[in-house]
């Protein structure tokens, strides 16, 4: 017997993501999904931002193992839940749904999901987020967007991190931004350095504008 399905392979995850999204919308809670390779500086960027923002931010940390990142975020005073995937290379929508039980969502202005460090797999899995932010550190090289396109293609913004190291690197910013724009025309590219604070004002301004545009839809 043949059964015609014509259905997305990831429909189970997509359904869980829709449930998450509906819950977030009920709470009028914007959610960011941060995607990057390991070591791009997601947690360090978050630490810097949490120290500066007056928003009430909750954070879900995704890692294969340890609570190291959650401890760093908790030290900033944010509510945080650590998910250990025990080998899985990405977070999926069901994991997020379970983590949400640990938050009082009505008390949050924003939820940030720091995905497992991996520039490939997390891009496939919708978590129910409002905005997908891909981070790339300049130390990784200006060839990476072309080599790992999926995370850049579906990003709502790209943060280039560790820009304070530019003088020490052979990194061509024009080539880098050009390859990102080629994959995702018009995507905002922001330049930040968590150590010096460079670009944090621009990030805050962009985020507030974007969230206010989302909220007024």
């Amino acid at each position: 017997m043949r059964v015609k399905l014509k259905q997305p392979v990831l429909q189970g995850n997509d359904a869980a993501a829709r449930t998450n999204r509906a819950l977030f919308e009920r709470h009028r809670l914007p959610v960011l999904n941060l995607i990057s390779s390991p070591g791009a500086g997601k947690t360090t960027f978050l630490e810097r931002w949490l120290a500066e923002t007056d928003l009430q931010v909750g954070v879900i940390e995704g890692d294969l193992a340890t609570t190291l990142d959650a401890e760093r975020i908790a030290a900033c005073g944010a509510e945080v839940v650590q998910i250990n995937t025990h080998g899985a290379c990405h977070l999926d929508a069901t994991m997020i749904a379970r983590a949400l039980d640990h938050f009082a969502l009505e008390r949050l202005d924003l939820l940030v999901i720091e995905n497992v460090g991996n520039l490939v797999c997390p891009a496939e899995f919708d978590l129910g987020e409002s905005l997908r932010i891909t981070l790339l550190s300049l130390t990784e090289g200006d060839d990476k967007p072309a080599k790992y396109p999926t995370s850049f293609r579906w990003a709502d913004a790209v943060l280039l991190t560790k820009v304070d190291l530019l003088p020490y690197l052979r990194c061509d910013l024009e080539r880098l931004s050009g390859s990102i724009q080629a994959l995702n025309p018009g995507v905002p590219i922001l330049y930040v350095a968590a150590q010096t604070g460079e670009g944090m004002t621009e990030w805050n301004d962009w985020l507030r504008r974007r969230l206010s545009a989302e909220g007024s839809r």
Partner: protein, 81 residues
């Protein structure tokens, strides 16, 4: 390496479809995978063979059609009650 995650979701989706249509064995799963998804077909096959639940998918063959674009679809399944 996202092939493992995709294979896992594939097994769940086919299990649900088989239940819904009263299939006790699934012999063939036909997939359509867009080139832009950057899915390695051999890796997906390997992951599927590790994860596929017996007896429902014990002898299931994956037939993968690659085509341009972003599709990641189960086109159809073949099985018996």
């Amino acid at each position: 390496m996202h092939e493992v995650g995709i294979a896992h979701e594939l097994c769940l989706a086919v299990e649900a479809a088989a239940r819904q249509h009263g299939l006790g064995r699934v012999q063939v799963i036909q997939l359509v995978i867009g080139h832009e998804r950057l899915v390695c077909h051999e890796a997906l096959q390997f992951a599927f063979d590790l994860l596929k639940p017996a007896p429902l998918m014990q002898d299931t063959r994956l037939q993968i059609e690659g085509r341009p674009g972003y599709d990641l679809l189960i086109d159809q399944i073949e099985g018996e009650p």
